[in-house]
């Protein structure tokens, strides 16, 4: 556990030293703030003390930002060869992958924490559904976890960051909307399976304020799968010259 934290701390310091973290925080807060308060179906248009619009904006902005954060996590180390140094230290592949996952997750959590003033403002305007808001944040965190694990996996496949970014977006797109679209257009068993696979279904049910174990299991199992597959992809060095 300590080793995971040491790795995560270094990754975080890279995020901040290389300005990625600041750019990402500013863009995220800018986008979500703009659409929550100023433009489109913002809070004043809806006229309710609800953060629903914020959650649906964050749902999209995080989808695009997370691959940009995760793309370098493993691809960069593979390109520069530092992965060799890292893995010959007294750490396991799993600790490395988990440390990297944790760093991106903490950065996203920080970004979400910076939106707490929204919560305070809205709750002072009117009667806010506190439980619903908490569930919305939980949903965003879980969703971020899923996309980070997908991004990490994409990053473990290649040594090119752009390829990692696009792969992560491509895989993410299926969970984000394509499964949902397919679920709507196909009936019967197949349709049901797509509905279960669709992330938006689970996200909506959580952000409505309903915490169902089915949804939690969905999010957690994709996260575990993504992290596991990254580990597998890392261990591929044993059979080739990767």
């Amino acid at each position: 556990m300590k080793l995971i934290w040491i790795i995560a701390r270094r990754e975080l310091s890279v995020f901040f030293d290389s300005l990625i973290a600041y750019v990402m925080l500013i863009l995220f807060l800018g986008f979500s703030g703009f659409f929550t308060w100023l433009y489109g179906s913002d809070i004043f248009l809806i006229g309710q003390a609800s953060l629903r619009s914020f959650f649906s904006i964050a749902y999209w902005t995080l989808f695009f930002f997370i691959p940009a954060l995760t793309m370098r996590l493993l691809a960069e180390e593979k390109r520069s060869g530092t992965i060799e140094l890292l893995l010959t230290k007294a750490v396991t592949d799993r600790q490395v992958v988990l440390g990297k996952f944790l760093s991106a997750f903490l950065l996203i959590a920080l970004a979400l924490a910076f939106t707490l003033p929204y919560v305070i403002t809205v709750s002072s305007i009117g009667n806010m559904d506190t439980g619903g808001v908490l569930c919305g944040y939980l949903g965003l965190l879980l969703m971020s976890g899923v996309y980070i694990s997908i991004g990490l996996f994409a990053s473990s496949l290649t040594r090119n960051q752009i390829v990692a970014f696009l792969t992560a977006l491509f895989i993410g797109l299926f969970f984000h909307i394509i499964f949902n679209v397919l679920a709507g257009s196909i009936t019967g068993m197949t349709g049901k399976i797509f509905n279960i696979l669709s992330l938006s279904t689970h996200f909506e049910s959580i952000s409505r304020g309903v915490i169902d174990t089915k949804d939690l299991i969905y999010f957690l199992s994709i996260m575990v799968l993504g992290v596991f597959l990254s580990e597998v992809a890392l261990s591929k060095r044993n059979i080739g010259n990767a």
Binding site: L3, V14, D17, T82, L85, T88, K89, V91, R237, G240
Partner: protein, 313 residues
């Protein structure tokens, strides 16, 4: 801690990068890994450090198999990979602290170790810079520092002196020699004088196989079955001398070095007294030997012999 390697094999597809090699290294020994590019040096090192898994064979370090207790064993190994990959965006000190922590050094000792490494590797003047701002020589020192930060019993150095200037090379070699007194050191290189200057034992690999194993002296002796002798013989007609030399039973090849000067290079047959025969021949013909010297086979010839013989077969 000693390293014992038995029947180690690694395949990349159909190609055997490392083919059934066995050797062992004892503490206090510096083993030089020598071989042409692509001979399997780096792959062997990657397997010893636990970066890559072998297909067959065992690596036993300090009595324990690398497969069983990889993570405990990794703590005893310091590794400097080829091309010295480092996090260029990190400051030197932060990087060394990070490495120390990853190797499980107690919080209280981390700074002591870092300070010691900065002193030993001579990076004091540059320690606050980012690694990316350092020159190649200083980066190499940082690479060495991170390899030694946890005071490992085993040091694996893949081409440790590439990119250093001659002064630095001498310093690093001196450092390796000092470390080699109590540690087990394996270093790879294709700079031959380096092996002679630093290593106690030399292992030459070619095509994934060990083709020679021994001290630089013993390797030289192996190749010295046929001595090469340079002679200058005067008071005679050069073609006559040439023919006379060729007719000696202990001589296999004769060559002109300098047509004007009556200089010849003579290659003797193994286990014969070529020098004496040449002398007696000259006495008989009343020629005068003004120069005769044994041209020592150097390690380079040994190396070239061993690594090209195989290729041509």
């Amino acid at each position: 801690m000693d390293i014992k390697i038995e029947n180690l094999t690694k395949k990349f597809g159909a190609q055997r990068a490392v083919n059934n090699i066995s050797f062992d290294v004892k503490p206090g020994e510096i083993l030089g890994f020598l071989g042409p590019n692509g001979a399997g040096k780096t792959t062997t090192m990657k397997m010893i450090t636990g970066f890559m898994l072998q297909d067959e064979g065992t690596i036993i370090i300090g009595g324990e198999s690398m497969l069983d207790s990889e993570n405990d064993l990794k703590r005893n190994i310091g590794y400097l990979p080829e091309n010295n990959p480092l996090y260029l965006e990190m400051p030197v000190i932060d990087y060394l602290i990070y490495c120390a922590e990853l190797q499980g050094i107690n919080r209280g000792d981390v700074m002591n170790r870092v300070r010691e490494m900065v002193r030993i590797c001579g990076i004091n003047a540059e320690k606050h810079k980012k690694i990316g701002e350092l020159s190649k020589g200083y980066r190499q020192r940082v690479g060495l520092a991170q390899a030694m930060i946890h005071d490992p019993d085993i040091l694996i150095l893949d081409e440790p002196t590439t990119g250093l200037d001659p002064n630095q090379i001498v310093e690093i070699r001196k450092l390796i020699r000092e470390l080699g007194r109590e540690k087990t050191v394996i270093l790879s290189t294709h700079i031959l004088p380096e092996v002679e200057a630093t290593c106690d034992r030399i292992l030459i690999i070619n095509d994934g196989k060990i083709v020679a194993d021994g001290t630089s002296d013993s390797l030289r002796k192996q190749a010295q079955g046929h001595d090469i002798i340079g002679v200058k013989i005067e008071d005679g007609e050069k073609n006559k001398i040439f023919r006379a030399l060729q007719e000696l039973s202990s001589v296999s090849v004769v060559d002109f070095v300098d047509q004007q000067d009556n200089r010849f290079q003579v290659q003797g047959k193994p286990k014969t007294s070529t020098q004496r025969d040449i002398f007696n021949m000259c006495v008989k013909n009343k020629w005068i030997i003004t120069e005769m010297m044994l041209i020592e086979t150097n390690l380079e010839d040994v190396f070239r012999n061993l690594t090209t013989k195989i290729n041509s077969n």
